[in-house]
Amino acid sequence: MQSPSFASVDDVASRLRDAGYLPDGAIATTVFLADRLGKPLLVEGPAGVGKTELAKAVATATGAELIRLQCYEGLDEARALYEWNYKKQLLRIQASKDDAQWDEIHDDIFAEEFLLSRPLLTAIRREEPTVLLIDETDKADVEVEGLLLEVLSDFQVTIPELGTISATRRPIVFLTSNATRELSEALKRRCLYLHLDYPDAAREKEIVLTRVPEVAEQLAEQLVRTVRAMRALELKKSPSISESIDWARTLVALGLDTLDEESVKTTLGVVLKHASDHVRASEQLKLN
């Protein structure tokens, strides 16, 4: 068993803080457990609450390299795990056409040399500290989940021609999901689960202040409260942390130092991205 990367929950919190990520208790504890128990961590939550950022921050905090597998519809084994470099294999066969025995070539063309390593295999084979980020798992097809099961539960990959490759050093694995579809029970059971939601007012204010240091504290406070009021409306897409940060940047760039009806109205597009949400928010927040 390799030595864990973090000493305690507080250690996680302070090191993530140094990496520029402000964790709350839940985040710090879960990251600590993921490291200690050697289990992958499934992070779910609405878009823009900092799921991918968390993985990046953990990589920075532990001095590990981040290997990222971006999921999309149609992602398959050849893109996620490994692929045989068949062009090179063909060359090898053609080059030794005359003299060599088939048996020899046969063993030869399925060697390390002809293997193209994709993110999952790369992460497993690395000797140095690694953070593996499987981003937007929900976008991938259901079959990919099956592929992930072996990798995530035993940290090994079976290649029929080469045998089973086990991790020499277990990477810290993050899976993120926007919950556009439900992931399978089997996958969830193998993971620790963290639901990232919109932060509480104090933490959100702190995040805005760290990310946009130019913004005045008074304004940040106002901004966070207004964003929270918007989240309480039944909107199609509630503004998340990234929108709060964008909004703070916008206000700073425009040189506004207070949030009143006028300034909210002119910059609403930064926070709300649907026409129907605009209408609803201006109505309910009495912007007109």
């Binding site: 504890t29 879960t30 457990l33 409260r225 929270r228 039944e234």
Partner: protein, 466 residues
């Protein structure tokens, strides 16, 4: 590891299972291993560690927190009796020195706390007020705890006006600033109420034992609440869950469709792919099956008693509209009107429902449910709505106020449709009692009991073909 701790943990997980949260043995093992790694003196760390191991759905979080507070209480007994914190720690104006039980003083303290938003001070305050105001001696030597006694004595909602006065200046009144301040205060008041309820549960659990309290403490999950008994808060929660539910259903359908064999050979793609292997078609490619998509016609009773159910089902139908070629919705009370146009794609469903009740022409005679007249009208006014590719859904409790049932037009509608179902939000046991015309209608088409979101989910899966 102490055996008592593991017993406690297992008991806690059993209580979670009783509350409808599935936990596998593997997850219990994870949680137990986690127990060995975190600092047990840090209660919040323990809570999050358990949550990370066994909770896999955000909807279960509230139930989990409630039960955790009961099984792993933050303090024991009356904390002020053996005050660990010296008075110097207490904040000025917190009321440590005032007479216990004087609600006027306490309201003043509460007002300051709500203005201030300091959670830790609030928690201490809640402990002391529950101790002072929440107890009632039900019998000699027996006592019970009530949150309503505390909430009534302090009535935090009535503090709103004076809180807003304190937060806002004169010119900020009426506009955005007031709305935002109001929201902030409401949030804090709700937090206070939740704290009081949690504290009362903790005291109760000490008196009566944790198992006893766990059984009643957890509010049923929104998806298991009966539509007919749902409170406003339940309905709001359900509305929030419509889209996740629709997504879940859509995924399962796609998965099921994928399992079936793919369709005809795609000649062009197969030849293209064969170039990579020197012209030998090693892998064949197939055209995907075109999934059969039915047309959906929803005919729903939106009279007061079943409106919540109808709204939820309509929202779900619209969230799932990609699974159908066409969705048409008709609403009725004692006459029928088409409401399809209120649900524009990309529009706001909550608005659509509000506009539907305001603008659609649903009342013909007296505004009491009349299934017979509505069905007859539907068949007459929209003869083209139901065809051989239509799945017809009728939503309602079939409580017809002893009026004519309109069986004949319904029969011909059912014959024309590909499928026809009647979804009834009433428990099966009540069917046919009083003015319920369930028996007559059930002879014509299949009637399904759909009391809560879980049953609706099951039904939708049956309705949609693979």
């Amino acid at each position: 590891m102490a055996e008592g701790l593991v017993d406690r943990e297992i008991g806690f997980f059993h209580a979670l299972r009783d509350a409808g949260i599935g936990i596998s043995l593997a997850e219990v093992l994870d949680a137990t291993r986690a127990l060995g790694t975190v600092d047990l003196l840090e209660r919040e760390h323990l809570r999050e560690a358990f949550a990370a191991c066994v909770l896999k759905r955000p909807a279960h979080r509230d139930a989990f927190d409630t039960l955790f507070d009961i099984w792993f209480p933050p303090v024991l007994g009356d904390p002020s009796a053996w005050s660990l914190e010296p008075d110097a720690d207490a904040e000025p104006g917190e009321g440590g020195e005032s007479e216990p039980g004087d609600p006027r003083v306490m309201r003043e303290v509460l007002k300051n706390l709500l203005l201030d938003g300091d959670e830790e001070a609030m928690r201490r305050f809640v402990r002391s007020v529950v101790n002072d105001l929440g107890r009632s001696d039900t019998a000699p030597g027996r006592q019970s705890w009530f949150s309503y006694r505390v909430l009534r004595a302090l009535s935090p909602e009535t503090l709103m006006a004076s809180l807003l006065d304190a937060m806002l200046t004169e010119q900020q009144r009426g506009g955005l600033a007031e709305k935002v301040a109001r929201q902030t205060v409401q949030e804090r008041i709700r937090q206070f109420q939740e704290m009081v309820e949690a504290e009362v549960r903790r005291r109760l659990a000490e008196d009566r034992g944790v198992e006893q309290v766990s059984k009643t403490a957890v509010h049923p999950l929104a998806e298991q609440v009966d539509f007919l008994r749902a409170t406003r808060a339940d309905m709001a929660e359900l509305r929030r869950q419509v889209f996740p539910l629709a997504r879940r259903l859509a995924t399962r359908l796609t998965a099921r469709r994928r399992l079936g064999r793919s369709g005809r050979l795609d000649f062009r793609r197969t030849v293209r792919a064969s170039l990579g292997t020197g012209g030998v078609p090693l892998v064949t490619h197939h055209k995907p099956h075109k999934p059969h998509k039915p047309e959906l016609v929803v005919l729903c009773d939106v009279s007061g008693s079943v409106a919540g159910f109808a709204h939820f089902t309509l929202m779900l139908a619209y969230a799932l509209r990609e699974q159908f070629t066409k969705v048409r919705a008709f609403a009725f009370i004692d006459t029928v009107d088409e409401v399809t146009d209120f649900f524009t794609p990309g529009g706001d469903v909550a608005d659509a429902l509000a506009r539907m009740s305001a603008e659609a022409d649903l009342v013909w005679f007296d505004g009491h449910s009349d299934y017979g007249h509505s069905i007859t009208e539907f068949a007459k006014r929209y003869p083209d709505a139901v065809g051989p590719r239509t799945s017809l859904l009728i939503l309602g409790d079939a409580r017809n106020n002893y009026r004519a049932t309109g069986l004949q037009p319904l029969k011909s509608l059912v014959q024309r449709a590909r499928h026809a179902y009647w979804l009834n939000p009433e428990p099966r046991a009540y069917w046919g009692s009083g003015d319920s015309a369930t028996a007559q209608y059930a002879e014509v088409l299949e009637m399904v009991e759909v009391r809560n979101a879980v049953q609706l989910e099951d039904f939708v899966q049956r309705l949609l073909p693979t």
